[in-house]
């Protein structure tokens, strides 16, 4: 039950993009077409799940054990950067199709703040291993959900007759605001 709550919270009520504002850059950058949004979303789910596992193990079994939690930020960012690099090399070698599909989105994930945010929240909320894993998967799915909804809306918006000053980023931000309002409807569901 506890795990289900963590999962639903990460996907809907405390969505990373619309509630914590994490991962806004890719959210604005790759949400103009459905195809790229889905590719980015899949890459993020994949890396988030891995990050949750690896950072949890490193934080609890290396940093805490040797009394080094102040190295948290440096360690996490290095872990994420090397993870992305390893995943990229692994995919290129063993699954060229998937590699081509995810393509340029993988390296971009290193600077996606939602990944580091995930690691930080996991430590802050003192999740155990399984909770952290569920949280990682949920956050990834939540990100993909919002990204694809946004891409769907923006594909329609591309044909809309907008005042010139609002074209591009401003209307995307305002749409995201309305989307955030809609997601507030879920907030009665659970408290975290």
């Amino acid at each position: 039950m506890e795990l289900l709550l963590i999962f639903v919270a990460a996907v809907l009520t405390n969505n990373f993009v619309l509630h914590y504002f994490l991962g806004i850059c890719p959210f604005l950058g790759v949400s103009s077409r459905m195809e790229t949004a889905v590719g980015m979303g899949l890459a993020v789910i994949f890396v988030m799940t891995l990050t949750a596992t690896v950072t949890w193990l490193i934080y609890h079994h290396i940093l805490v054990r040797f009394g080094l939690p102040f190295l948290e930020y440096v360690t996490f960012i290095l872990v994420i950067a090397s993870l992305v690099q390893i995943v990229e090399m692994f995919l290129r070698r063993f699954s060229p199709e998937l590699y081509r599909a995810l393509g340029i989105y993988l390296p971009l994930i290193t600077t996606n703040c939602s990944i580091l945010g995930l690691a930080l929240f996991m430590v802050l909320r003192e999740y155990d291993f399984i909770e952290g894993l569920v949280f990682g998967i949920g956050a990834g799915i939540g990100f993909t959900l919002v990204l694809t909804i946004m891409a769907g809306i923006r594909e329609e918006l591309a044909f809309a007759d907008l005042p010139r000053a609002f074209r591009g980023a401003p209307i995307t931000l305002i749409t995201a605001g309305i989307l955030a309002l809609a997601f507030m409807g879920f907030s009665g569901l659970i408290r975290v």
């Binding site: 000053a165 209307i171 931000l173 309305i178």
Partner: protein, 204 residues
């Protein structure tokens, strides 16, 4: 991979001024959106976040411009990131020790300065190619542009959300628009602000 030195030839004061408007990270480049939207629930939070980020940006630019000829091209991104993470740790510990209230209000967004894309962006575009003096001016300029944007956004949200700015009552008897303090308000306000900046830019 040999990198050329592309030293900027602008007059020195331009190095500072360009960050305020022309290359303003928020309004013109749309970089570093996450902290911008998340912490601007009040003018004070916006200002503190801006100052912390400017500190990290300036210190990183200083170090990067000093060691710019020693860093091999292939590992430069990793090097810059570790330098940024180090200064973020410094800023975070300083805030925790001296301003616990602000540190609490900003929460995990202080460590998230590490992945603020425009800090890395300035290193890549500017500090890794220019002498130290210019790099610091550039960092201070972009930092000031960031502080300006965050404080403006924070003031507007605080004003509409509670009728106050920096905790001082501005509009007596204002009926608070709660939505401005909530996430949705951040997106809406920034959307309209960027649209306004676009409109101003066009009339120039």
């Amino acid at each position: 991979m040999e990198r050329r030195e592309e030293v900027s030839r602008r007059p020195w004061y331009q190095e500072y001024l360009k960050g305020l408007w022309e290359e303003n990270p928020i309004f013109r480049m749309l970089l570093g959106m996450c902290p911008t939207l998340a912490v601007t629930t009040s003018a004070l939070n916006g200002l503190s976040m801006g100052l912390a980020t400017t500190f990290v940006l300036t210190s990183t630019s200083l170090v990067v411009s000093i060691i710019r000829k020693l860093v091999p091209g292939q590992v430069r991104i990793a090097t810059f990131t570790v330098i940024i993470a180090t200064f973020v740790t410094v800023a975070d510990l300083f805030l925790k020790a001296k301003f616990p209230a602000i540190s609490k209000a900003l929460g995990p967004y202080v460590p998230l300065i590490v992945v603020n894309c425009f800090i890395l962006g300035r290193q890549e575009v500017f500090a890794s190619k220019n002498p130290t003096g210019r790099s610091i001016l550039d960092a201070l300029g972009v930092g000031s542009g960031f502080i300006f944007a965050l404080t403006l956004l924070g003031s507007i949200r605080e004003l509409l959300g509670s009728g106050e700015v920096f905790g001082h009552e501005v509009i007596p008897g204002w009926h608070p628009w709660v939505v401005m303090i909530l996430p949705a308000g951040a997106f809406l306000t920034l959307g309209f602000l960027v649209a306004a900046m676009n409109a101003i830019e066009r009339t120039k």
